[in-house]
Amino acid sequence: MPYNASLDMKTPAKIWEISGRMFLAWGFFVLLSCLACSPPGGGSETPGRPAEAGPPCYGDTLITGSIGEPSNLIPILASDSSSHEVAGLIYNGLVKYDKDLKLVGDLAESFEVSKSGLVITFHLRKGVRWHDGQPFTAADVLFTYKTMVDPHTPTAYAEDFLQVEKAEAADPYTFRVTYKKPFAPALASWGISILPGHLLEGRDIMKSPLARHPVGTGPFIFKEWKTGEKVVLAYNPDYFEGRPYIDRYIYRIIPDSATMFMELKAGGIDNMGLTPLQYARQTEYRKFKENFNKYRYPAFAYTYLGFNLEDEKFRDRRVRQAVSYAIDRGEIIEGVLLGLGQEATGPYKPGTWAYNPNVKRYPYDAVKARELLQEAGWRDTDGDGILDKDGIPFRFTIITNQGNDIRARTAEIIQRRLKEVGIDVKIRIIEWAAFIKEFIEKKTFEATILGWTITQDPDIYDVWHSSKNKPGELNFISYRNTEVDALLERGRRTFDQEERRKIYWRIQEILAEEVPYVFLYVPDALPVVQARFKGIEPAAAGITYNLIKWYVPKAEQRYKMIAHSS
């Protein structure tokens, strides 16, 4: 799979978009672009039909439904998940995550990491061609690197590449990078999409036609993009891992999940991410199960309630702990996710090596919450049912983004529970762009319900380090803890997994104790695919890691391919 694993999973801005607007379709996101799922068997449902049915054969079209539309198909310039989903099929990185979430070569045939960990040498595949026929060489990789570190490139993903001391193309098929200091996420960062140097060199990347007519090395070739409607890709006959069985891939933009679901049933699309309600209540009948295969696995994402720590009310740790005690996570998972998710206790996914299962937990306990609030000085002195301190009632507003019913309902449940302990919560739902620009980036919020994707590499420097609290950066809650800062710094400077585990486990302990976020839940990804598609093998990486191996038996094919014209 040519998905830019590290890009998809690591890059901050991307994380935002997923967590925001796309979250309504988070299941869908996970389905398509992430390599992010639990080991096989872990809760995944048995498909309605056997996955194997005759030998693979070429043909047919896969139509995917998406809530969001790509913004820019030069992926380093885009920070929305739709762009990355589509670009992931057009471009390749040097490395990728395989189905078991191990880093393997992609455009690099092999790679070596020096003993010190400071030098990585990539041996590139020979004979790879860009979709326009030009050969792919180390010059393209070098160009991509230079573009990333160019301060004029408006990319959200520069940070990893600024750690590089020296990058060189030793020969057309050897690329070598040297780091100043050990940098644990180094290798994964080279999963970024490699751009065609011959089409971009010496030109202004912001004005490049590639934004709407991308040229890559991936399994699918860009054909057409009708704004607001669809993006059409066709198979790449010369793809270095062999041509995809599917002739065409169409990315249809349908900005409403109920409409999308109707399209699915009407045959207008072949796959999408289901909402919990659709999964649990609208797909449990025979005809649906005969026509579609549903999958379920924990997403690499979590949803949280974040406090603005600059706000006077939330400075006191006891207040934050009280809020955490007052919220019943089980109720949210049961009521909003219909049981299709699990409790989150920290910024990692349960069951992964970085996840610490032994941190302090906050089971629902309203009495304890009230005690803690009282200790912190919040009492209901005027008998109106709302706590107050120095004459100021405990009121705050939780903001979240529009288009995400699940978050809005989570907010309503939290609102009710906090009212029970004497905190008056208002909910405000804001359109995504304004939500990020006016509230999150400017830090003009009191509390917010948002989500992050969980990256393969446990480095969470960008979200938690105190230096990352400038406007537009990801530590927008202004969390500041010198021990966490030091641990984050150490965590990215060592390659020893055992040592890193200790570091990240300690960070989780601190976060659980300090409650800068109330960690709420890790939702399940709920993709569904039309049953005529065979060859789908759910793995730790989800289901789309082997999209090029999906096929439709001749007899069941629905769409004819128009003569290939590249």
Binding site: S257, A258, T275, L277, R281, Q282, E331, E334, G335, V336, L338, Q402, D405, A408, R409, A411, E412, I413, Q415, R416, K426, I427, R428, I429, E431, A434
Partner: protein, 284 residues
Amino acid sequence: MKRALAKEFWQRFRRHRLGLTGAMVVLLLFIVSLAAPVFSPYDPSYIDIKSILEPPSYEHPLGTDQLGRDVLSRIIWGGRISLMVGFVAVGIATVVGVFLGAMAGYYAGYVDTIIMRFVDIMLCFPTFFLILAVVALLEPSIWNIMVVIGATGWMGMARLIRAEILSVKERDYVLAARALGASHARIIWRHIIPNAMAPVLVAATLGVAAAILTESALSFLGIGVQPPTPSWGNILTAGKDSIEVAWWLSFYPGMAILITVLGYNLLGEGIRDAIDPRLRDGRG
């Protein structure tokens, strides 16, 4: 004299069957909304995750929503919001419209020109999008919505009252008042406006229906009344996503909007038929 007029009005209105039906519907809505705590079987924001999306039953006559809240209770409390929005918004529109319309009609000349051109400008904006834009800038809240709906809905009222005043101000009793040396303000408030109010009453009644619809639409789009306050519009939104599994969540609030808007429209027409002398004359 006033009594006689009222009596005459009632005599005519009583015979207007549809108008009477409308009046009854509106009255019923009033009673139910004002006494919402009495009529609603549950707390409208009581969340019960054990009974999510339950179909109508004895316990929940109109079913439950995605958080297990009772739909009947939410519709009853939502009715309060709708009525409040309707009345406050129309109140604002009426005050602004009557004031500006009266100014324009009475003073005529350049005052008239300026005010009426301003009305024309305001009418150029597609109202709903103007409201959308304003609400997007302000914080969405029920008060903002009422003010915005009112502030964008007064133009028709201003035109009506102006036209009415143009004819009323030439009447003999106005001339008489003027001859007696009454001030402009007195003439306008005591002599002209009371005699020009008939169409305003009709327009206001119909305006309530329009305001309720606008509020529902805004809430449906998520920029109206904010959760957990129930409003018919936001119950409908919630229903949209689960229409296949929970028809009651879309059907009942939709019916509530339909019946209310119909009620006000019928009432408005009834009043118009009973009050409007020209219409009466026209019918012979």
